[in-house]
């Protein structure tokens, strides 16, 4: 029996490139061919291309284990983390790799995430409390209260959700699902005393009401989180806040 674990398959990577200093050849698609083994991720292949074929191919990467959020990109049309996307599991011999849509491209697959960070900061993404904590103990939070943070606190800020959102494509000032998820992570926290402060930035024409519940963000999230659910909950909070 052939050892299928070590069998290699020739895969073509079609990478959408952008060279800011490149004159005529500024935007182009480049093909790289590489032998891929079972277990190799898209990031492994991009690294191999960079290290062996073309050192100028540019992308962000760090932890290579799906937790740092650096390597989100569009792979065969879907936003994913390159490090946890197994090449052979994609089942195609040609793989297209593009930068995240909706963000300005700096170079090749590296995009400008500054606008995403600005919007994150708009929701005051930190715990706000009005009473001092106990001096020699933690604040008490029941397991049920803590469970409300599951599906919210795990966000790795990779940008895959916001980049997949049609509302964000149409309105560059739209806050984006990542910011909503973060806002709700604090509003849902039993220890937070100022839901209104997190909500302030959301009640705006570039805010919550612009979400058309298309669920792209849910599909795009590599951590299986649900920003749309957070948006629905935030809308209820906002209405509650308004009615008093």
């Amino acid at each position: 029996m052939a050892n299928h674990d070590t069998e290699k398959k020739l895969i073509t990577f079609r990478v959408k490139r952008f060279d800011p200093d490149g004159g005529e050849r500024k935007r182009y698609t480049q093909e790289y061919k590489i032998e891929v083994m079972k277990g190799q991720s898209v990031l492994d292949c991009l690294n191999e291309i960079r290290w062996k074929q073309d050192g100028s191919l540019t992308f962000r990467r760090s932890c290579k284990s799906g937790i740092c959020g650096s390597c989100a990109m569009t792979i065969n049309g879907v936003n994913r983390l390159a490090c946890e996307t197994q090449v052979l599991a994609l089942g195609s011999s040609t793989i297209t790799v593009e930068p995240l849509k909706g963000f300005a491209v700096i170079k090749d697959l590296a995009v400008d995430i500054d606008p995403m960070v600005e919007k994150l900061l708009a929701v005051k993404p930190y715990l706000i409390t009005k009473t001092p904590p106990p001096s020699d103990a933690e604040r008490i939070q029941s397991p049920a209260e803590r469970a409300r943070l599951d599906g919210l606190y795990e966000c790795i800020l990779c940008g895959a959700c916001t980049s997949s959102c049609p509302s964000f494509w149409a309105d560059e000032r739209y806050l984006g699902p990542h910011a909503f998820l973060k806002a709700y992570r604090f509003i849902a926290d039993s220890r937070d005393d100022a839901p209104g402060e997190h909500l302030d930035a959301l009640d705006d024409k570039h805010g919550l009401w612009r979400c058309h519940t298309i669920f792209n963000c849910v599909e795009a999230c590599p951590k299986s989180l649900n920003p749309t659910k957070a948006i629905e909950a935030l809308r209820r909070e906002l209405v509650k806040e308004k009615i008093g």
Binding site: G55, C68, S70, I106, R146, E154
Partner: protein, 594 residues
């Protein structure tokens, strides 16, 4: 007299004025140590965080299992027990004055994280939940494993890293993300800042400060099989070394027992803390031969050696170089609530559902015990012993206080990074309260950095950095891993010298200024080679086995000759050694059994 053209006036030769930044404090790195220091100092002073990655990309976020503190939320515990375990875990090389600070202040540091908003898992009565971890025991090692590791499911590092980023935002810390720091500005043992490369736009910048703090992380990326990020390249220790500061105990690097096979990706020790088994090809829980009492919950050096022995003697799974981590008996509910990320990682990277199948694992290069020598207030020591570098601090994995000695216990790293990061912040605040003058910036402060950048961009050699790095990593994993011996280390030393020589003949493909990762790769490789040279020389020099350093030609611990810290530096093109004694206060060295 020639009139002066204002355009030519520079504080620093070769750096435009708008690229010279001034802050009270410049923190390099953005992991737990760095951002904890930043939060502390930002309450009173102007703090900048300069990091080669966006802050939440830092590798602290990959830590899974927990952070140790004797909170006694789940069962009786005392800092004295935690201290004994840490001292014994360090194979008696940890400095006991530093360890006492670590374990006594731990509860405060963990509770402060909770107050900042960290989403810890909770006990039924709403307190911070705690779990078992290797090497943490009751009653000075005489009792069984103890519930001491405070956790947020198996995403503790992620939870703490994001909490610190959020609190830095709240405190108004100024971030400079994606700036690669090239070197320290130190003259006559006074530090006045750092020189950095703007990765996104290109260009050399100078950060001028009264205090510089390094929290730059570890260097295990010099190995092929490694759990750690591609960014963990030892930049901080290499920069200290280039500034003439020795590195301490660099021979000690921890191999984590449970790395995903081939990938090296971390599978938390929490998997064993929650009850997971390690089994060999015969289905045997082999730890009973090596640590009959603590079994899978022996410290990491002990477990990694046992696994490597099983593999070397042909008892790996199918005779291959991996072992099985078996979680099946824990059941789906426990796996999904306590170890959700492990389940996700095993599925995504190995296509293994750990509810129904064991996970293939092998030891993986994980944590750097050695690093930049500091005192207990995190001030860097110019000679590794007593002489301080004014205005220069370090904490976390890049530093060596030393609280981990020859082997770190699981969950003591998040603790050490946060706790000594906090102490560094407090030290800096004390220093700044004395109202020190901003030290003068030497006119040639950026000279070496500019020459290094220009040299790499214009190099016309024939060597590829990718090939040199792959060779270095391969050699280190083959000859400087769990077991080492003098003969292999001698060959390795020659090999590293030849790699350093090849590094002098590189050429990179990308000559541009904007987001040039080819350039960053080359810079990182240069620093990794510096660190590698020191580690190999230190491993060859220490002719005993202790903690993470295991010499098959010197299999016993040798307290008579080696109960001391190594201080290694470069002198006239070679590695030179000095030593300093271990601080022993409460616990005398004894035989280490589990």
């Amino acid at each position: 007299m020639t009139p002066i053209d204002p355009e030519t006036i520079h504080d620093v030769e070769g750096v435009p004025l708008h690229s010279v930044h001034r802050h009270d404090v410049v923190v390099v790195g953005a992991g737990l140590a760095a951002m904890r220091a930043a939060v502390e100092a930002a309450k009173d002073y102007d703090v900048a965080v300069v990091s080669k990655v966006f802050p939440t990309r830092s590798h602290s976020g990959a830590a899974q299992g927990g952070i140790a503190a004797s909170l006694a939320n789940e069962e009786e515990d005392h800092w004295e027990w935690h201290m004994f375990d840490t001292v014994k875990g360090s194979d008696y090389l940890g400095d006991q004055d530093g360890i006492e600070i670590l374990v006594r202040e731990a509860p405060v540091v963990v509770r402060e994280f909770e107050h900042m908003g960290a989403p810890f898992s909770r006990t039924p009565d709403g307190r911070i939940a705690q779990r078992l971890f290797g090497g943490h025991t009751k009653n000075f090692g005489k009792g069984g494993p103890i519930l001491r590791a405070c956790y947020a499911a198996d995403r503790t590092g992620h939870a703490l890293l994001h909490t610190l980023y959020e609190n830095c935002v709240k405190e108004g810390v100024r971030f400079y993300p994606e700036f690669y720091v090239l070197g320290l500005i130190v003259r006559d043992d006074v530090c006045s800042g750092v020189v950095a490369w703007d990765v996104v736009n290109g260009g050399v910048h100078v950060f001028h400060a009264k205090a510089v703090m390094f929290g730059t992380g570890g260097h295990a990326r010099i190995f092929r099989i490694a759990s750690i990020s591609l960014s963990s390249t030892g930049d901080g220790p290499a920069m200290a070394l280039r500034a003439g500061i020795p590195l301490e105990d660099m021979e000690f690097l921890q191999f984590h027992p449970t790395g995903l096979y081939i990938h090296g990706i971390l599978v938390s020790e929490a998997a064993r803390g929650e009850g997971g088994y390690l089994v060999n090809d015969a289905g045997e829980r082999f730890m009973k031969k090596y640590a009959p009492d603590k079994m899978e919950l022996a410290p990491r050096d002990v477990v990694s050696r046992a696994m490597q022995r099983e593999i070397d003697e042909g008892r790996g799974i199918g005779g291959k170089d991996f072992i099985h981590l078996d979680l099946r008996h824990l059941g789906k509910d426990k796996i999904m609530t306590q170890l959700p990320q492990i389940h996700e990682l095993a599925w995504k990277f190995m296509h293994v559902d750990c509810v129904t199948n064991p996970i293939p694992i092998q030891p993986t290069a994980h944590y750097s015990m050695g690093g930049i020598p500091t005192d207990n207030d995190c001030q860097v020591l110019a000679d590794g012993k007593a002489k301080k570098v004014a205005g220069f601090y370090a904490a976390g994995e890049c530093a060596c206080v030393s609280v981990h000695g020859a082997n770190r216990l699981g969950t003591n790293s998040l603790l050490e990074a946060s706790l000594f990061g906090r102490r560094a912040g407090k030290s800096i605040v004390r220093f700044l309260r004395t109202e020190p003058a901003l030290p003068d910036l030497p006119a040639d402060a950026a000279k070496e950095a500019i020459e290094e950048i220009d040299g790499i961009l214009s190099a016309t050699g024939s060597e590829k950095t990718g090939a040199i790095r792959a060779e270095m990593q391969q050699q280190m994993t083959a000859n400087c891993a769990v077991y080492r011996n003098g003969c292999n280390l001698e060959q390795l030393r020659a090999e590293v010298a030849s790699l350093r020589e090849r590094y002098g003949r590189i050429r990179i493909d990308d000559k541009g200024k904007t987001f040039n990762m080819d350039l960053i790769d080359a810079l990182e490789l240069g620093r990794m080679l510096d660190v590698t040279e020191i580690m190999v020389a230190s491993a060859l020099n220490r002719t005993e086995s202790r903690g993470g350093h295991s010499r098959t030609d010197f299999p016993k611990r040798d307290d008579a000759n080696w109960l001391k810290h190594t201080l290694a530096h470069r002198k006239n093109g070679a590695v030179a050694f000095d030593y300093k004694p271990v601080v022993i206060t409460r616990f005398q060295p004894q035989e280490r059994k589990y």
